[in-house]
């Protein structure tokens, strides 16, 4: 299309100028994570130093390419030279870089970590060769630190909207055919075949038809959609446009959680820029397709991420899930045919249309096609956002993240937040794929990986998970509303050493009831961590129940804290406020935890190296069994 060709030519010229501005380039990443890590102060210091040194350089903003452990980072490129990444900066070191690198022409290898380019430079490796990046297959993430996410020209110059233009010249059924050939499954957690969803919506009767992008990303531990929207927002919009053409929709909604203001801003800006360029609105590029997108903000409800609940929220109601029949592709938003897809799913669409569904299906492992974005955090050396092919193993991912923290040993990972299953370390060699992970109740989920080491108690973790699900439950279904409460109460008892021997079986039965009788994914998935823990860490649960012991030394009612007065950084008089008598034969004292928690010095004492935890001595004798009636009476009081 002639309009688009002209648009592209102009975009390419602008992008080339940005890549080679004829003066030093200082590429900075201003995203939510880097800003929280102090990037604003670093960039301000750089600007001030440039002015002070009277240097003519161009400070350019990009999105984050994933390695959070490098934050705040800045890339510096002299005209004609390589682009060098400098990591873990602060205002002082940033200023020194302006003086030494830009003005002085030095390399500053003490702060440089890699070359952002094809070839190593003076002993510096390429960024792509670092373990964190080497494990990855970056399809969706390739633009992140290479374009300004607030500039549509950069998106167009790097191939953006070409797939949309191609799709416009294909019959809608052909577009859907390619989506089906790709075998892509939804990336939001439910993993429904996207091609089949679009086909169902296209065939449905009704007008208008709606496209909704689910950007609620409420699953704790997952922030891949945020990074995608802050780094390459147009990719998501292009996916929505292609869907609109395939399904026959002229109205789209973008529902984003309110906790993502920068992502919302960048996407809304992308929408405005697309409108200005004629890529959105009426009769786009003369194709006859009319499509508009409304941006809507959520308000702090995890359940709003559930597709039917999101539709309820968009209609101005509570975010409560609906009956699954009729299907939303037939009667969804405002009772009209609706296609809802996740942010990451939409970002894959241009690649599928541009290169073909068969090409996409060739990436990955067996029936799990394509790549998966992950956000990695927890007890691991390097946190960050990554993209890997299906078939990669958890062991490879954890290695790329630098492995365990010094002195610790990784025990398990939890995917998909507090309703996610747990994968124990001895299964880390399983290639990542939807089916085999689901078979061990550790469904791949929506992109969060939380790594946990031996300091994590599975009983405490379960209590934490059920607390979250209880909080977020809409409270409609008895099994979910009361099930989450009861689980929490039973786990709290186990953490106090007051569980009865029959309790694990009761928990398993309750978990089963929750899974089978809850109406939506929240209640159905809430027992998943318990299924995993009972399967892989039952001995740890039994230690709490039968021995009244917490192997990980986390459950405080089962612990006694001993302090060495010689090492405590408190005068003896102050220390005596927090202690309650001697602790056995040596000179240590027992800490009175209740009194310690009453003031800041006491809390600090509990975490000081002078204090260590031991198993609290338990009364000898059998753990009491209870009748079912006694059991329910006791747990009702908890």
């Amino acid at each position: 299309m002639a309009d688009f060709a002209a648009l592209r030519e102009q975009a390419e010229a602008e992008y080339q100028r940005w890549l080679s501005p004829g003066r030093p380039r200082i590429v900075v990443n201003l995203a939510t994570c880097s800003l929280t890590a102090g990037a604003a102060a670093v960039v301000e210091a750089i600007r001030q130093e440039l002015a002070a040194q009277q240097i003519d350089a161009e400070v350019q903003t990009v999105g984050c390419d994933g390695p959070c452990f490098m934050e705040p980072w800045v890339d510096i490129q002299q005209p004609g030279g390589p682009r060098i990444r400098y990591a873990r900066l602060d205002p002082t070191t940033a200023r020194s870089l302006v003086r030494d690198v830009i003005k002085g022409g030095e390399l500053r290898k003490d702060l440089a970590v890699a070359v952002v380019g094809e070839r190593p430079h003076q002993g510096l490796p390429t960024l792509a060769s670092l373990p964190f990046f080497a494990v990855q297959h970056r399809l969706l993430m390739r633009r992140y630190a290479n374009v300004d996410p607030e500039n549509i020209d950069h998106y167009v110059a790097t191939g953006g909207y070409a797939a949309f233009v191609k799709a416009l010249q294909m019959a809608p059924d052909r577009v859907i055919e390619e989506m089906k050939k790709s075998k892509i499954l939804g990336r939001g957690g439910a993993a429904f075949p996207t091609g089949r969803k679009w086909e169902g919506c296209r065939a449905a009767q009704g007008y208008p038809k709606y496209i909704i992008c689910n950007s609620d990303e409420g699953v704790p531990g997952a922030w891949v959609d945020r990074t995608l929207l802050e780094g390459d927002p147009h990719a998501v919009l292009e996916g929505m446009l292609i869907a609109a053409h395939a399904i026959g929709s002229d109205q789209g909604y973008f529902y984003i959680r309110s906790e993502y203001p920068l992502a919302e801003h960048r996407f809304a800006l992308a929408v405005r820029q697309a409108e200005e360029r004629g890529l959105l609105g009426e009769n786009i590029l003369g194709s006859g397709l009319t499509f508009r997108v409304q941006v809507r903000r959520g308000a702090g409800s995890y359940l709003a991420g559930e597709s039917s609940a999101l539709m309820s929220s968009l209609e101005g109601g509570k975010a409560m899930p609906r009956l699954k029949r009729p299907r939303s592709v037939e009667k969804g938003l405002f009772a009209k045919p609706t296609t809802m897809n996740n942010v990451e799913t939409f970002a894959n669409v241009p690649h599928i249309i541009q290169n073909g569904g068969d090409w996409y299906a060739g990436i990955g492992y067996r029936e799990s096609t394509g790549t998966r974005l992950f956000s990695c955090s927890g007890h691991v050396r390097h946190t960050g956002a990554i993209e890997v092919k299906f078939g990669t193993t958890m062991a490879q991912i954890v290695d790329a993240l630098g492995g365990a923290l010094p002195g610790h040993r990784i025990k398990m990972v939890q995917l998909d937040g507090p309703a996610g299953g747990i994968l124990p370390a001895n299964l880390f060699d399983m290639p990542l794929d939807w089916t085999s992970y689901a078979n061990v109740t550790a469904a791949v989920g929506s992109g969060g990986i939380v790594v946990m080491d031996e300091r994590t108690c599975v009983v405490d973790l379960l209590a934490y998970c059920f607390d979250f699900n209880e909080d977020e439950s809409c409270d409609r279904c008895t099994t979910c509303r009361l099930g989450t409460q009861k689980m929490k109460a039973m786990l709290a008892q186990a953490a106090r050493g007051e569980a009865s021997p029959g309790e694990p079986e009761m928990m398993a039965r309750l978990a089963d009831a929750m899974k089978r009788n809850s109406h939506c994914g929240l209640g159905q998935a809430a027992p998943n961590p318990l299924f995993s823990v009972f399967r892989f860490f039952r001995d740890e649960v039994d230690a709490h129940v039968f021995e009244r012991r917490c192997p990980a030394h986390v459950c405080e009612p089962l612990l006694e804290y001993h302090v060495d007065p010689a090492r405590a950084a408190l005068p003896a008089e102050k220390l005596s406020q927090y202690t309650a008598g001697p602790a056995g034969a040596d000179h240590e004292l027992v800490v009175d935890v209740e009194r310690a928690l009453a003031d800041p010095d006491g809390v600090a004492l509990l975490e000081s190296p002078a204090v260590h935890a031991v198993d609290r001595p338990q009364p000898a004798g059998l753990v009491q069994s209870r009748t079912l009636a006694e059991h329910w009476l006791v747990t009702n009081k908890a």
Partner: protein
């Protein structure tokens, strides 16, 4: 905080069609202008959208973000996400409680500050995370929590952020 006149809610409402689908955007704009959504606001909104006050109130109270009472000067929040949980959340909260003299979920008697939980907002790479109003502080230590808590209690928090 909120200084707009009561009748200005009509100025907000007039911007939207009289359809229930606009309820959340109206709530957002009202809270942004006034700091909270009062009973009078609920009545005005109900009248405008053709809903009953009970229906409006039901939706209002479902979402964690909307407040019905004016916010204190400083809201101290701790992220409850899994990475924050693993990186010492409980002990940090205990330090905050001991420093501020309020339990999690409570507001100080003079309504100057409160201590609240907040669900994961997706900045897990900087766990553990705490917030004072809109300012996020990542990688917080026990000492950080104590210092920030003392500043909030003394009312010197605003001066502190301008230094950082």
């Amino acid at each position: 905080m909120a200084v707009a006149e009561e009748h200005d809610i009509q100025a907000i409402l007039q911007k939207y069609p009289q359809e229930q689908t606009w309820l959340l955007p109206i709530f957002h704009e009202t809270q942004h202008a006034y700091g909270s959504i009062s009973t009078q606001h609920v009545l005005d909104i109900a009248g405008y959208l053709g809903m009953t006050p009970a229906q409006v109130h039901e939706v209002l109270t479902f979402y964690a973000e909307f407040r019905q009472e004016p916010a204190p000067d400083a809201i101290v929040r701790f992220c409850q996400g899994p990475a924050c949980y693993l990186r010492g959340l409980y002990r940090l909260q205990q330090m905050a409680e001991a420093t501020l003299g309020v339990r999690l979920g409570q507001t100080s008697p003079d309504n100057r500050y409160s201590l609240e939980p907040i669900q994961c907002n997706g900045t897990c790479e900087l766990a553990p995370l705490m917030f004072v109003n809109d300012v996020a502080i990542g990688n917080v230590t026990l000492d950080d929590v104590r210092a920030i808590g003392e500043a909030v209690k003394a009312g010197t928090w605003a001066e502190r952020t301008s230094d950082e």
